[in-house]
Amino acid sequence: MNVLIVDDNAAAADLLQELVSLEQQHMAQCAYTARQAIEAFGQSPFDIALIDLSLPDQPGTEVARQLRAAAAGRPLTLVAVSGFAQDDPAGQEALALFDHYLQKPIDFSTLDRLLVPPAAP
């Protein structure tokens, strides 16, 4: 799978990229700002985007809106990744825009399940 990791915490993003690429054999790319994420999405066909809700230039929810629009109906799994719990006000808004919600620290077994490609029809 092609995975886009969006997080302004560069250490966290880089480590997650290593884990996803090395342990799970996926193609992963990091973006550290909302702008970088939107640019990267325009250049590569990603299957899944793991998006931190708190980014310096735009909220993660706005990135989700833009990526969904740019996907134009192509299958795309959007995963909110945040230190905010799902029932915090910030998390509640994300629920409507994302397919899944992962609270930091990430549960790796849950992430593994999300990174399984959909079965061919």
């Binding site: 250490a11 480590l15 945040s82 230190g83 915090d88 006000p89 910030a90 609270q103 930091k104």
Partner: protein, 227 residues
């Protein structure tokens, strides 16, 4: 029945509790970040030391990252003491106070479509020579209380501007949302908030903490020195 002095103190205690609950997600977020990095760093380090040929330089780099993130986590845990009114610290500068409080509420407000703008005169870089105000915890609650009061009470709120008022006070001013701006996010964010920080609650908090405050329809002004 008129509220007794004790009842007003209980109201103030309730407001402090509500404010702490509102910033708790941000505090948890700040501490979850280093824990995330620590866990992933350790996982990668385990892989590295289990490999047939150990790359000592890569392992050392990984250990340095873990050490750094552990420091961030320790600082986060220590900072929880900042919320205890009884804690005696070295006080806080006005700009640092504003920076801390806007960082704590900024993400949640932002997701609700409400911006917080800070006057350039309150840039933290200008704070080094500025006076430090004692009772930092009280000032933290008061600043958060003022922000949350405007957030909860001003209809069609678009932004809150924070500016200095003389040498020893802060003024927070609500600005309306632009007519064309979408308001759906605002509704989503504010709907679950049933316990609003109204003007009476904010007054009780300020009195209990010993600070003079003036609450207007779309602005709040409070003194940094206790009365």
């Amino acid at each position: 029945m008129k509220a007794s002095p004790s009842a007003r103190s209980w109201i103030a205690a309730g407001v402090r509790h509500e404010l702490f609950l509102r910033v708790l997600p941000a505090l948890r977020h700040d501490m979850a970040a280093p824990v995330s990095v620590l866990r992933m760093g350790l996982l990668m380090l385990k892989r590295q030391v289990a490999a047939p040929g150990i790359d000592a330089a890569a392992c050392a780099q990984r250990v340095a990252l873990i050490d750094e993130q552990l420091g961030v986590l320790v600082d986060g845990i220590r900072s929880l003491r900042d919320w205890e009114l009884a804690a005696t610290g070295e006080g806080i500068g006005r700009a640092a106070l504003v920076a801390q409080c806007t960082a704590l509420l900024g993400a949640a407000f932002d997701l609700g479509g409400i911006a917080i703008s800070v006057d350039p005169a309150l840039e933290p870089a200008d704070d080094a020579q500025a006076p430090r105000w004692p009772a930092a915890a009280a000032l933290r609650y008061l600043t958060l209380g003022a922000l949350c009061h405007l957030h909860d009470s001003v209809p069609r709120l678009g932004a809150i501007h924070i500016e200095p008022d003389g040498a020893d006070a802060l003024r927070l001013r609500a600005e309306p949302r632009a007519a064309e701006a979408p308001s759906q996010a605002l509704v989503t964010h504010r709907a679950p908030r049933s316990l609003a920080i109204d003007a009476v609650s904010l007054q009780c908090l300020a009195e209990d903490l010993g600070h003079a405050i003036r609450v207007e329809r779309t602005a709040v002004r409070f003194a940094l020195a206790s009365a």
